[in-house]
Protein backbone atom coordinates (compact mmCIF):
# COMPACT_ATOMS: atom_id res chain seq x y z
CA UNK A 1 0.00 0.00 0.00
CA UNK A 2 1.95 2.96 -1.18
CA UNK A 3 -0.76 5.58 -0.94
CA UNK A 4 -1.07 7.55 2.25
CA UNK A 5 -4.36 7.55 4.09
CA UNK A 6 -5.51 9.64 7.04
CA UNK A 7 -4.71 8.55 10.57
CA UNK A 8 -6.79 5.85 12.22
CA UNK A 9 -10.36 6.74 12.95
CA UNK A 10 -11.38 5.71 16.46
CA UNK A 11 -15.05 6.41 17.03
CA UNK A 12 -15.93 8.63 19.96
CA UNK A 13 -12.47 8.05 21.43
CA UNK A 14 -14.18 5.56 23.66
CA UNK A 15 -11.24 3.20 23.56
CA UNK A 16 -9.46 5.22 26.20
CA UNK A 17 -12.53 5.84 28.33
CA UNK A 18 -12.92 3.95 31.57
CA UNK A 19 -15.66 1.35 31.45
CA UNK A 20 -18.12 0.74 34.26
CA UNK A 21 -17.31 -2.24 36.47
CA UNK A 22 -20.72 -3.74 35.94
CA UNK A 23 -20.81 -5.98 32.89
CA UNK A 24 -24.25 -4.91 31.70
CA UNK A 25 -23.45 -1.23 32.08
CA UNK A 26 -20.12 -1.67 30.33
CA UNK A 27 -21.67 -3.45 27.36
CA UNK A 28 -24.34 -0.78 27.12
CA UNK A 29 -21.66 1.93 27.12
CA UNK A 30 -19.67 0.12 24.43
CA UNK A 31 -22.82 -0.34 22.39
CA UNK A 32 -23.61 3.38 22.49
CA UNK A 33 -20.05 4.26 21.56
CA UNK A 34 -19.33 1.77 18.80
CA UNK A 35 -22.47 0.19 17.40
CA UNK A 36 -22.93 2.52 14.42
CA UNK A 37 -19.27 2.47 13.51
CA UNK A 38 -19.06 -1.32 13.66
CA UNK A 39 -22.25 -1.53 11.65
CA UNK A 40 -20.63 0.63 8.96
CA UNK A 41 -17.70 -1.80 8.77
CA UNK A 42 -20.01 -4.80 8.65
CA UNK A 43 -22.13 -3.20 5.92
CA UNK A 44 -19.02 -2.82 3.78
CA UNK A 45 -18.00 -6.42 4.40
CA UNK A 46 -21.39 -7.99 3.81
CA UNK A 47 -23.91 -7.47 1.08
CA UNK A 48 -27.00 -7.82 3.22
CA UNK A 49 -27.68 -5.08 5.83
CA UNK A 50 -29.62 -7.54 7.99
CA UNK A 51 -26.62 -9.86 8.02
CA UNK A 52 -24.43 -6.94 9.03
CA UNK A 53 -26.72 -6.11 11.96
CA UNK A 54 -26.68 -9.75 13.05
CA UNK A 55 -22.92 -9.95 12.94
CA UNK A 56 -22.49 -6.77 14.99
CA UNK A 57 -25.06 -7.92 17.51
CA UNK A 58 -23.33 -11.30 17.77
CA UNK A 59 -20.04 -9.58 18.48
CA UNK A 60 -21.55 -7.60 21.37
CA UNK A 61 -23.18 -10.72 22.78
CA UNK A 62 -19.89 -12.62 22.39
CA UNK A 63 -18.09 -9.88 24.30
CA UNK A 64 -20.76 -10.06 27.01
CA UNK A 65 -20.08 -13.77 27.38
CA UNK A 66 -16.30 -13.28 27.57
CA UNK A 67 -16.40 -10.16 29.70
CA UNK A 68 -14.30 -11.78 32.40
CA UNK A 69 -11.28 -11.91 30.11
CA UNK A 70 -11.39 -8.23 29.15
CA UNK A 71 -8.57 -6.46 30.96
CA UNK A 72 -8.63 -2.95 29.47
CA UNK A 73 -11.25 -0.82 27.69
CA UNK A 74 -9.10 -0.93 24.52
CA UNK A 75 -9.32 -4.71 24.51
CA UNK A 76 -13.10 -4.52 24.29
CA UNK A 77 -13.08 -2.38 21.15
CA UNK A 78 -10.38 -4.48 19.48
CA UNK A 79 -12.33 -7.60 20.31
CA UNK A 80 -15.50 -6.13 18.85
CA UNK A 81 -13.83 -5.06 15.60
CA UNK A 82 -12.04 -8.36 15.12
CA UNK A 83 -15.25 -10.17 15.93
CA UNK A 84 -17.18 -8.19 13.34
CA UNK A 85 -14.56 -8.84 10.65
CA UNK A 86 -14.27 -12.54 11.43
CA UNK A 87 -18.03 -12.90 11.84
CA UNK A 88 -18.57 -11.31 8.44
CA UNK A 89 -16.09 -13.68 6.83
CA UNK A 90 -17.76 -16.67 8.49
CA UNK A 91 -21.18 -15.45 7.40
CA UNK A 92 -20.06 -15.06 3.78
CA UNK A 93 -18.36 -18.45 3.78
CA UNK A 94 -21.46 -20.11 5.19
CA UNK A 95 -23.68 -18.49 2.60
CA UNK A 96 -21.36 -19.54 -0.22
CA UNK A 97 -21.18 -23.09 1.15
CA UNK A 98 -24.96 -23.29 1.37
CA UNK A 99 -25.22 -22.00 -2.18
CA UNK A 100 -22.72 -24.53 -3.51
CA UNK A 101 -24.55 -27.39 -1.79
CA UNK A 102 -27.73 -26.37 -3.50
CA UNK A 103 -25.88 -26.30 -6.83
CA UNK A 104 -27.14 -22.82 -7.44
CA UNK A 105 -25.39 -19.55 -7.72
CA UNK A 106 -25.43 -17.60 -4.52
CA UNK A 107 -28.16 -15.02 -4.44
CA UNK A 108 -28.65 -12.52 -1.66
CA UNK A 109 -31.68 -13.37 0.49
CA UNK A 110 -34.99 -11.95 -0.65
CA UNK A 111 -35.87 -9.02 1.55
CA UNK A 112 -39.14 -7.32 2.28
CA UNK A 113 -40.25 -4.61 -0.15
CA UNK A 114 -39.24 -1.79 2.16
CA UNK A 115 -35.86 -3.36 2.81
CA UNK A 116 -35.36 -4.08 -0.87
CA UNK A 117 -35.82 -0.42 -1.71
CA UNK A 118 -33.24 0.49 0.91
CA UNK A 119 -30.96 -2.20 -0.38
CA UNK A 120 -31.09 -0.83 -3.90
CA UNK A 121 -30.29 2.60 -2.63
CA UNK A 122 -27.33 1.33 -0.70
CA UNK A 123 -25.92 -0.95 -3.35
CA UNK A 124 -24.03 1.92 -4.76
CA UNK A 125 -20.87 1.90 -6.75
CA UNK A 126 -18.78 1.24 -3.64
CA UNK A 127 -20.75 -1.86 -2.80
CA UNK A 128 -20.47 -3.11 -6.34
CA UNK A 129 -16.73 -2.59 -6.39
CA UNK A 130 -16.25 -4.25 -3.02
CA UNK A 131 -18.40 -7.21 -3.98
CA UNK A 132 -16.02 -8.00 -6.80
CA UNK A 133 -13.09 -8.47 -4.41
CA UNK A 134 -12.10 -11.64 -2.60
CA UNK A 135 -13.02 -11.86 1.06
CA UNK A 136 -9.54 -11.04 2.35
CA UNK A 137 -8.99 -8.18 -0.12
CA UNK A 138 -12.30 -6.70 0.89
CA UNK A 139 -11.49 -6.97 4.61
CA UNK A 140 -8.08 -5.39 4.17
CA UNK A 141 -9.35 -2.47 2.09
CA UNK A 142 -12.36 -1.82 4.31
CA UNK A 143 -10.21 -1.77 7.44
CA UNK A 144 -7.66 0.40 5.68
CA UNK A 145 -9.97 2.98 4.18
CA UNK A 146 -13.08 2.76 6.31
CA UNK A 147 -11.37 2.36 9.68
CA UNK A 148 -7.99 3.84 8.66
CA UNK A 149 -5.94 1.14 10.30
CA UNK A 150 -2.24 0.62 9.69
CA UNK A 151 -0.99 -2.55 8.07
CA UNK A 152 0.17 -3.84 11.44
CA UNK A 153 -3.23 -3.16 13.00
CA UNK A 154 -4.99 -4.89 10.11
CA UNK A 155 -2.67 -7.86 10.45
CA UNK A 156 -3.43 -8.05 14.17
CA UNK A 157 -7.16 -7.80 13.57
CA UNK A 158 -7.20 -10.44 10.84
CA UNK A 159 -4.66 -12.69 12.53
CA UNK A 160 -2.27 -12.74 9.59
CA UNK A 161 1.16 -11.32 8.72
CA UNK A 162 1.87 -7.79 7.58
CA UNK A 163 3.24 -9.21 4.36
CA UNK A 164 -0.04 -10.95 3.71
CA UNK A 165 -1.90 -7.68 4.34
CA UNK A 166 0.34 -5.91 1.83
CA UNK A 167 -0.27 -8.58 -0.79
CA UNK A 168 -4.04 -8.50 -0.34
CA UNK A 169 -4.07 -4.71 -0.37
CA UNK A 170 -2.03 -4.52 -3.55
CA UNK A 171 -4.15 -7.07 -5.38
CA UNK A 172 -7.32 -5.49 -4.02
CA UNK A 173 -6.31 -2.04 -5.25
CA UNK A 174 -5.51 -3.49 -8.65
CA UNK A 175 -8.93 -5.12 -8.77
CA UNK A 176 -10.60 -1.87 -7.70
CA UNK A 177 -8.73 0.04 -10.42
CA UNK A 178 -9.90 -2.47 -13.02
CA UNK A 179 -13.48 -2.14 -11.77
CA UNK A 180 -13.27 1.64 -11.98
CA UNK A 181 -11.94 1.44 -15.52
CA UNK A 182 -14.80 -0.83 -16.46
CA UNK A 183 -17.34 1.47 -14.86
CA UNK A 184 -16.01 4.53 -16.64
Amino acid sequence: MSSAVPAARRPADATTTELPDDRDAAITALFEAHYRHLLAIARRLLDDPADAEDVVMDSFVGLYRRWGSVRRPDDAFFYLRASVVNGSRTRLRRLRLAASRLFTQFEPPVAAAEQTALLHLERDAVSQVLSALTGRQRQVLVLRYCDRLSEAEIAATLGCSVGSVKTHASRGLQAVAEQLRGMS
Partner: protein
Amino acid sequence: MTTDHDLASAWLTEALGHDPDPPADLHAARLELRRRTRRISVQRRLAVVAITATVAVLGLVVVRALPDSPITPPPAKHLQSGLPIGTLKGQVQFRGDPDSNPGPRSLWFVVRADSTGTYSIQAPGDIGMGPDVWPVRYTGVAPGRVMLTRPDSLCTGDDNELTLDFTVRGNTVTITRAVTGPCSTFPDRPNVDLRGVVLRVTRGASPTP
Protein backbone atom coordinates in the same frame (compact mmCIF):
# COMPACT_ATOMS: atom_id res chain seq x y z
CA MET B 1 2.81 9.75 -12.59
CA THR B 2 -0.42 8.43 -11.19
CA THR B 3 -0.67 4.67 -11.00
CA ASP B 4 -3.70 2.42 -10.89
CA HIS B 5 -3.06 1.92 -7.19
CA ASP B 6 -3.04 5.65 -6.54
CA LEU B 7 -6.28 6.09 -8.41
CA ALA B 8 -7.95 3.22 -6.61
CA SER B 9 -6.61 4.43 -3.28
CA ALA B 10 -7.85 7.96 -3.84
CA TRP B 11 -11.24 6.65 -4.87
CA LEU B 12 -11.52 4.38 -1.82
CA THR B 13 -10.39 7.18 0.49
CA GLU B 14 -13.13 9.36 -0.88
CA ALA B 15 -15.77 6.65 -0.91
CA LEU B 16 -15.05 4.89 2.39
CA GLY B 17 -13.13 7.51 4.35
CA HIS B 18 -16.09 9.86 4.43
CA ASP B 19 -18.60 7.06 4.69
CA PRO B 20 -21.40 8.32 6.94
CA ASP B 21 -22.63 5.91 9.58
CA PRO B 22 -25.38 3.85 8.00
CA PRO B 23 -28.98 4.32 9.05
CA ALA B 24 -29.79 1.94 11.86
CA ASP B 25 -32.67 1.33 14.18
CA LEU B 26 -30.72 1.91 17.38
CA HIS B 27 -33.73 1.51 19.62
CA ALA B 28 -34.51 -1.93 18.21
CA ALA B 29 -30.84 -2.88 18.42
CA ARG B 30 -30.68 -1.80 22.08
CA LEU B 31 -33.74 -3.87 22.89
CA GLU B 32 -32.31 -6.88 21.06
CA LEU B 33 -28.99 -6.60 22.90
CA ARG B 34 -30.77 -6.31 26.25
CA ARG B 35 -32.94 -9.33 25.44
CA ARG B 36 -29.97 -11.49 24.49
CA THR B 37 -27.76 -10.45 27.40
CA ARG B 38 -30.60 -11.07 29.83
CA ARG B 39 -31.07 -14.53 28.38
CA ILE B 40 -27.37 -15.25 28.92
CA SER B 41 -27.57 -14.04 32.52
CA VAL B 42 -30.57 -16.24 33.21
CA GLN B 43 -28.90 -19.22 31.54
CA ARG B 44 -25.79 -18.71 33.66
CA ARG B 45 -27.76 -18.49 36.86
CA LEU B 46 -29.70 -21.61 35.96
CA ALA B 47 -26.46 -23.40 35.11
CA VAL B 48 -24.92 -22.43 38.45
CA VAL B 49 -28.00 -23.63 40.31
CA ALA B 50 -28.08 -26.88 38.31
CA ILE B 51 -24.39 -27.56 38.86
CA THR B 52 -24.64 -26.79 42.57
CA ALA B 53 -27.66 -29.05 42.94
CA THR B 54 -25.99 -31.84 40.97
CA VAL B 55 -22.81 -31.63 43.02
CA ALA B 56 -24.82 -31.63 46.24
CA VAL B 57 -26.87 -34.64 45.20
CA LEU B 58 -23.81 -36.53 43.99
CA GLY B 59 -22.03 -35.72 47.23
CA LEU B 60 -24.93 -37.06 49.25
CA VAL B 61 -25.11 -40.21 47.13
CA VAL B 62 -21.39 -40.82 47.49
CA VAL B 63 -21.47 -40.23 51.22
CA ARG B 64 -24.38 -42.63 51.63
CA ALA B 65 -22.84 -45.24 49.34
CA LEU B 66 -19.57 -45.29 51.18
CA PRO B 67 -19.28 -48.11 53.72
CA ASP B 68 -18.25 -47.22 57.22
CA SER B 69 -14.69 -46.72 56.32
CA PRO B 70 -12.27 -48.58 58.56
CA ILE B 71 -10.23 -45.61 59.53
CA THR B 72 -7.20 -46.86 61.37
CA PRO B 73 -6.01 -44.40 63.93
CA PRO B 74 -2.37 -43.44 63.73
CA PRO B 75 -0.11 -45.44 65.98
CA ALA B 76 0.04 -44.08 69.50
CA LYS B 77 3.20 -42.34 70.56
CA HIS B 78 2.59 -42.28 74.28
CA LEU B 79 0.95 -44.36 76.95
CA GLN B 80 -1.88 -42.77 78.87
CA SER B 81 0.53 -41.56 81.51
CA GLY B 82 2.48 -39.72 78.82
CA LEU B 83 5.40 -42.16 78.81
CA PRO B 84 6.72 -42.38 75.23
CA ILE B 85 6.44 -45.71 73.44
CA GLY B 86 9.76 -47.11 72.27
CA THR B 87 13.13 -47.75 73.88
CA LEU B 88 14.16 -45.35 76.61
CA LYS B 89 17.85 -45.48 77.30
CA GLY B 90 20.05 -43.60 79.76
CA GLN B 91 22.85 -43.93 82.25
CA VAL B 92 22.73 -44.14 86.03
CA GLN B 93 25.57 -43.62 88.43
CA PHE B 94 26.01 -46.26 91.11
CA ARG B 95 27.80 -45.33 94.30
CA GLY B 96 29.31 -47.59 96.94
CA ASP B 97 32.52 -49.51 97.53
CA PRO B 98 34.61 -50.90 94.67
CA ASP B 99 33.38 -54.45 95.30
CA SER B 100 29.85 -53.43 94.49
CA ASN B 101 30.99 -52.34 91.03
CA PRO B 102 30.33 -48.61 91.25
CA GLY B 103 30.23 -46.42 88.17
CA PRO B 104 27.92 -45.71 85.35
CA ARG B 105 25.49 -48.30 84.13
CA SER B 106 23.15 -48.33 81.21
CA LEU B 107 19.45 -48.35 81.93
CA TRP B 108 16.79 -49.40 79.44
CA PHE B 109 13.09 -49.29 79.44
CA VAL B 110 11.25 -50.89 76.54
CA VAL B 111 7.71 -49.57 76.37
CA ARG B 112 5.16 -51.14 74.04
CA ALA B 113 1.84 -49.71 72.93
CA ASP B 114 -0.05 -52.43 74.87
CA SER B 115 1.57 -51.19 78.11
CA THR B 116 3.88 -54.18 78.39
CA GLY B 117 7.65 -54.03 78.16
CA THR B 118 10.88 -54.65 80.00
CA TYR B 119 13.48 -52.84 81.95
CA SER B 120 17.11 -53.64 82.37
CA ILE B 121 20.39 -52.43 83.82
CA GLN B 122 23.76 -53.28 82.40
CA ALA B 123 27.21 -52.29 83.52
CA PRO B 124 29.44 -51.04 80.73
CA GLY B 125 31.90 -53.68 79.65
CA ASP B 126 29.95 -56.34 81.43
CA ILE B 127 30.87 -59.60 79.74
CA GLY B 128 29.19 -61.84 82.25
CA MET B 129 25.79 -63.40 81.84
CA GLY B 130 24.48 -60.21 80.30
CA PRO B 131 21.97 -57.87 81.81
CA ASP B 132 18.94 -58.96 83.73
CA VAL B 133 15.83 -58.20 81.77
CA TRP B 134 12.63 -57.95 83.72
CA PRO B 135 9.30 -58.04 82.00
CA VAL B 136 6.98 -55.40 83.35
CA ARG B 137 3.60 -53.81 82.78
CA TYR B 138 3.36 -50.03 82.74
CA THR B 139 0.32 -48.72 84.56
CA GLY B 140 -0.43 -45.02 84.41
CA VAL B 141 -1.13 -43.55 87.82
CA ALA B 142 -1.43 -39.96 86.67
CA PRO B 143 -0.04 -37.85 83.90
CA GLY B 144 3.72 -37.95 84.40
CA ARG B 145 3.59 -40.87 86.78
CA VAL B 146 3.80 -44.54 85.86
CA MET B 147 3.98 -47.69 87.95
CA LEU B 148 5.98 -50.69 86.71
CA THR B 149 4.57 -54.01 87.93
CA ARG B 150 5.97 -57.48 87.37
CA PRO B 151 3.40 -60.04 86.36
CA ASP B 152 5.82 -62.85 87.16
CA SER B 153 6.54 -61.54 90.63
CA LEU B 154 6.55 -64.12 93.36
CA CYS B 155 5.37 -61.49 95.79
CA THR B 156 1.77 -61.81 96.65
CA GLY B 157 -0.33 -58.79 97.21
CA ASP B 158 2.05 -56.12 95.95
CA ASP B 159 3.87 -56.60 92.67
CA ASN B 160 4.91 -52.95 92.43
CA GLU B 161 8.43 -52.91 91.01
CA LEU B 162 9.07 -49.25 90.51
CA THR B 163 7.06 -46.05 90.37
CA LEU B 164 8.52 -43.26 88.28
CA ASP B 165 7.63 -39.60 88.04
CA PHE B 166 8.90 -38.08 84.83
CA THR B 167 8.76 -35.18 82.45
CA VAL B 168 8.91 -35.47 78.69
CA ARG B 169 10.62 -32.95 76.48
CA GLY B 170 11.03 -33.82 72.84
CA ASN B 171 12.83 -37.13 72.60
CA THR B 172 13.99 -37.20 76.19
CA VAL B 173 12.39 -38.33 79.39
CA THR B 174 13.73 -37.02 82.68
CA ILE B 175 13.04 -39.02 85.82
CA THR B 176 12.07 -36.64 88.60
CA ARG B 177 11.26 -39.23 91.28
CA ALA B 178 11.66 -42.99 91.66
CA VAL B 179 10.18 -45.24 94.36
CA THR B 180 10.79 -48.97 94.45
CA GLY B 181 8.17 -51.43 95.69
CA PRO B 182 8.61 -53.95 98.49
CA CYS B 183 9.40 -56.80 96.11
CA SER B 184 11.53 -54.81 93.70
CA THR B 185 14.33 -56.59 91.94
CA PHE B 186 16.05 -53.33 91.20
CA PRO B 187 19.71 -54.02 91.99
CA ASP B 188 21.54 -52.23 94.72
CA ARG B 189 18.77 -49.73 95.07
CA PRO B 190 20.25 -47.86 98.06
CA ASN B 191 23.34 -46.96 96.03
CA VAL B 192 21.63 -45.39 93.10
CA ASP B 193 19.60 -42.26 92.68
CA LEU B 194 17.41 -42.24 89.61
CA ARG B 195 16.36 -38.61 90.05
CA GLY B 196 17.61 -36.47 87.19
CA VAL B 197 18.43 -39.42 84.96
CA VAL B 198 17.75 -38.48 81.36
CA LEU B 199 16.48 -41.23 79.07
CA ARG B 200 16.71 -40.83 75.32
CA VAL B 201 13.71 -42.18 73.42
CA THR B 202 14.15 -44.29 70.30
CA ARG B 203 10.78 -44.94 68.72
CA GLY B 204 10.01 -48.26 67.15
CA ALA B 205 13.16 -49.76 68.62
CA SER B 206 13.79 -53.38 69.25
CA PRO B 207 11.78 -54.62 72.23
CA THR B 208 14.80 -56.15 73.87
CA PRO B 209 17.84 -54.14 74.88
